[in-house]
Subunit: 337 residues, 2 copies
DNA sequence: CTGAAAGCGCTAACAA
DNA sequence: TTGTTAGCGCTTTCAG
């Protein structure tokens, strides 16, 4: 059973192939009745245009690149499935492209990739959304792109955000409402843009609750389990140790829990712990982790939508913000257990 | 800067485009000196053939489909990056295709996908490697494919295995060597082919250690955290409870740890727990999980190699087995703590 | 509003 | 061993 071609559709609809092409591409200048006739023929034949042929002939490639360099598998999978969904629905394919954001030749490689694979656009996920050199190269080259969770709101038309700061403020106030006054915080990897916003949210949450910010309750992590463990161990060794620790992501929170366990502290009796992201780990650890659910899937779907609009030259929606929400589980509780 | 085409290469090398084509495709009947001349021109121009054009013109599409329906993000990412690596190296692209293995129309969809996207071949990961209907369809349609970790060795030329059974036997004997005699086992999802082999390995390990198999120490799980928790709770409620639990994967092992914690049992003091896979969770949980590291990445690279060979009609290597290895961590210890 | 003709960059079949 | 020619299935001119 051979694939049906545009010619067969044209023959069935009794029009030229060019008219079929117009219908496929939603071009103007086709009478409605003709359009319907062609659509009907397309349906009856189960016709779908050959991607390679349109790529070869046309200016567009119907190909979008997805760039990532994120150690969290669940993050990547969530982004990927969101983007896949939206792109497939619009007959675009995606080219998965793992990167090394520290690679000095990254920009050149991406430029090359775009030219060579004739990509119509690019989706950047953290920490690539934070890669200034890359971003300005894309801007200069007029390559369409969208950033998931970029570090600032300087380019809202090409960004999808979540409310990192607000929700971190909320989490901090929640911990305060449980009676905690010494609430530690573990900062994530400085190369990740959301890190700053989350940290600021924590600080605002403290002051909102009338708690004085103490430098000594802040640890520097790098988004990894081990970095969270080490940072937490430092914090917990202090004479007056924190009674709660809020970590910038779930892996670090899990590391903090390990440190607490090893120091003989019970959770949440002696120490409350909260994270950010709600990765699967958060609910598979014991006690289960209070955290913040980041709507990665929805954010990446929105990112794909924005990109496709941009590619088609359609008006791009304004600032896109999809809120994260708190998920209270068992790792947090009132002070003193 | 336009892309260089085969014509420019031909001009520079002073041969016809057909000769360039021959060199690109490693076809025979090109004199060595000519081949070198062409290669040189290709290098100097930085030429790379346009995929769309070769797809359109040729019989092959240089496109391979990756099929998965696995809830474990880290599994999927590992497979994907292995396959990507090998395929990119050979100038093949991959088409990521999440599936629903319970979908009754799956076979038709895949058949359609292969025809429509003109896929050269398919890589099946569990539980799709276990999908008999799908597998026989592919065989009938003569569609090249490879299975990662299929349920049996009936088609070794199209399979990549690991030593599930052997290593589970080893793990069981290890637990026995710590003094455990009541070693429980939580079986994974029956739709996953490796499940049987792992269970058999456990049984053999018992008998190898001179321990009688007891039906009462076996729980049925479904690969999920929650199913492991529930199965473990049943086992631990027995009058004579197991002193060790070996679960068919890490998620279930984590669930078992939760059940133990909630029943006030310490790990490994009161209960040793072991898993399988060595997903990130295994080292991010407390106490860290003794488990078996499955070489997913290597297996999928091998799978890609086999598939590409098959597509090119090159001889396909025999049975491919890449061993999993035990990773002893803190969740197992001598009986009685 | 519609169509005819000319490619896109490559491979396949055949000729030389 | 090499080259010539004709497409692959579509989009892009440009004419009607």
């Amino acid at each position: 059973m051979r694939k049906t071609t545009i010619e067969e559709v044209a023959a069935l609809a009794r029009v030229s192939i060019k008219t079929v092409s117009r219908v496929i591409n939603d071009e103007p200048n086709v009478r409605d009745t003709t359009r319907l006739k062609v659509r009907d023929a397309i349906d009856r034949l189960g016709y779908r245009p050959d991607q390679s042929a349109r790529r070869l002939a046309g200016a567009r490639s119907y190909l979008v690149g997805l760039l990532y360099d994120n150690p969290s598998a669940s993050y990547v999978i969530d982004v990927q499935s969101g983007v896949l969904d939206r792109c497939r629905a619009e007959n675009y394919e995606i080219l998965i492209n793992p990167c090394d954001y520290k690679n000095h030749a990254l920009c050149a490689e991406i430029e090359n990739l775009v030219r060579h694979a004739r990509l119509d656009g690019l989706i950047l996920t953290p920490p690539l959304s934070d890669h200034q050199e890359l971003v300005s190269m894309l801007r200069k080259q007029l390559i369409p792109f969208v950033m998931v969770a970029p570090p600032n709101q300087s380019d809202p038309a090409r960004s999808v955000f979540t409310n990192d700061r607000d929700v971190c403020r909320e989490m901090t106030r929640y911990l305060a409402s449980l009676g905690h006054e010494r609430i530690g915080y573990i900062i994530g990897h400085p190369d990740h843009g959301a890190v700053g916003a989350r940290y600021r949210g924590y600080q605002e949450g403290l002051s909102g609750a009338g708690i004085r910010f103490r430098k000594g309750l802040i640890g520097q992590g790098y988004n990894s389990y081990i970095s969270g463990e080490e940072a937490a161990r430092q914090l917990l060794k202090r004479k007056v140790r924190p009674t709660a620790i809020f970590a910038g992501n779930d892996e670090m929170a899990a590391g903090a829990m390990k440190a607490a366990h090893e120091m003989g502290l019970t959770i949440p009796g002696d120490l409350s712990v909260a994270g950010f992201d709600d990765v699967p780990l958060a609910s598979q650890i014991w006690p289960s982790l209070t955290t913040i659910r980041q709507p990665i899937r929805a954010m990446s779907e929105k990112a794909a939508d924005i990109l496709l609009n941009q590619i088609r030259g359609e008006p791009v929606n304004g600032l896109q913000m999809i809120p994260s929400v708190m998920v209270i589980r068992d790792s947090t509780g009132p002070i003193g257990g």
